[in-house]
Amino acid sequence: MAEGSGSLYDPRRHVRILSERVRDVSSVDYPGHFPGEDHSWDLAKFTENFHLEVQRLSQRSVEFDLVGVDASIANAFRRIMIAEVPTVAIESVYAWDNTSIIVDEVLSQRIGLIPIHVDPRRIDVKSEGDESTDRNTLVFNLDVRCSRNTKAKRGATADSELYINHEVLSSHLQWVPQGEQAEVFEADPPRATNPNIVLAKLRPGQAVKMELHAVRGVGKDHAKFSPVATASYRLLPLVVLNPDKPVPKESAEKFAACFAPGVIHVDKRSGKVRVEEKNLRKDTVSREVLRHPEFEGCVELKRIRDFFLFHVESESAYPPEDLLPEAIQILRGKIAAIRQATEALLDEDQTMDSQDAMQTD
């Protein structure tokens, strides 16, 4: 397994998991913490130690290892993916007709939460007071009327057979191109990411007719704009056996059962246990092993403080593998904005200093 920065068994990288508490959680890799050691920022050293590896990828989710960074950095990526990567969601609902049993405001709330498949990079932000234009707003129509299915077989009981349109689905959203939108989105027309979301149930005679306006926004404003279903990380678990106190042969199987399947390998003939390093990430760190007195002192449970196992599930127009690069770009944008403001502050500071010098002269 790729360890990234050094050995997994370096005690400085360990968060200790004890039976009733967790120790050494905070990182201490700062200048001045260890006497005679240099822990100041060094890009070359960081680049050498840093390790990033994609583990699994599907059309909906990605798993990757981020190794050799501080928790504050990993957490910034996670936070940005959840709350600051923009997506498009329905913000205004104009209800012309709603005779379903779900009231307008509840139905509107549900409609707002539908993930919309449209590249947010092609839509401008609509700030407060801005007029709606074809650059910042997408319009959808929702027009569903339920009726009796006259061709239903005798004795049919299923709603889908008895009625036509007995459900308002996200696939009923009809995109209405405005202005230049028909050309811009021709190749990949805006639609609901998942066509099977039930928004309301209808009975014959009931109808929903609404106009929906979608805009671009970010998750910190409203969760409906969040591009991810989950974006989370956990630290790599580590199980360290004590060579001075081996696990008793007769309870080897019991020992292995304390961990997730595959983490502990029991040799059938000798009854010796060993840790399967490549399966360590499967462990849940349930601490079950610490409950049994016969295993006391046999094993230590740890996590690697700078080994982040990310799991990101996209629930938007972004392919899952694009979310981290987007988050990085947003973080760099923030850095650039703060740098600009700081430089302005520096100029101000210098002119103030020179004025002070003139006064003392």
Partner: protein, 94 residues
């Protein structure tokens, strides 16, 4: 100005904690910390105190530069891993 508190608007723990970490990596920094004074006020306070009367603004600027280069490394390595890595591809039903 060797000691300063910077108020950064429209920012939160995301930037506060990363900047704090990077500024603390500077050996000439005596103290660095940040706070979110109130959850419904959208700003953070970032405190920097320097040794030897050095400029706190300069420390902030260099930390911003370092953070940017860190982001670049992460971005490059991610894209490289995505392009050349041997990872498992699978079909996920939604």
């Amino acid at each position: 100005m060797s000691c300063a508190t910077f108020q950064i608007h429209d920012e939160s723990h995301t930037i506060g904690n990363t900047l704090r970490w990077m500024i603390m990596k500077n050996p000439m920094v005596e103290f660095c910390g940040y706070s979110v004074p109130h959850p419904s006020e959208n700003h953070i306070n970032l405190r920097i105190q320097m040794y030897d009367g050095l400029s706190a603004i300069q420390a902030l600027l260099s930390a911003l530069g370092n953070l940017d280069s860190l982001c670049e490394v992460v971005d490059d390595k991610y894209k490289e891993s995505l392009k050349h890595g041997s990872y498992e591809r699978w079909e996920e039903k939604s």
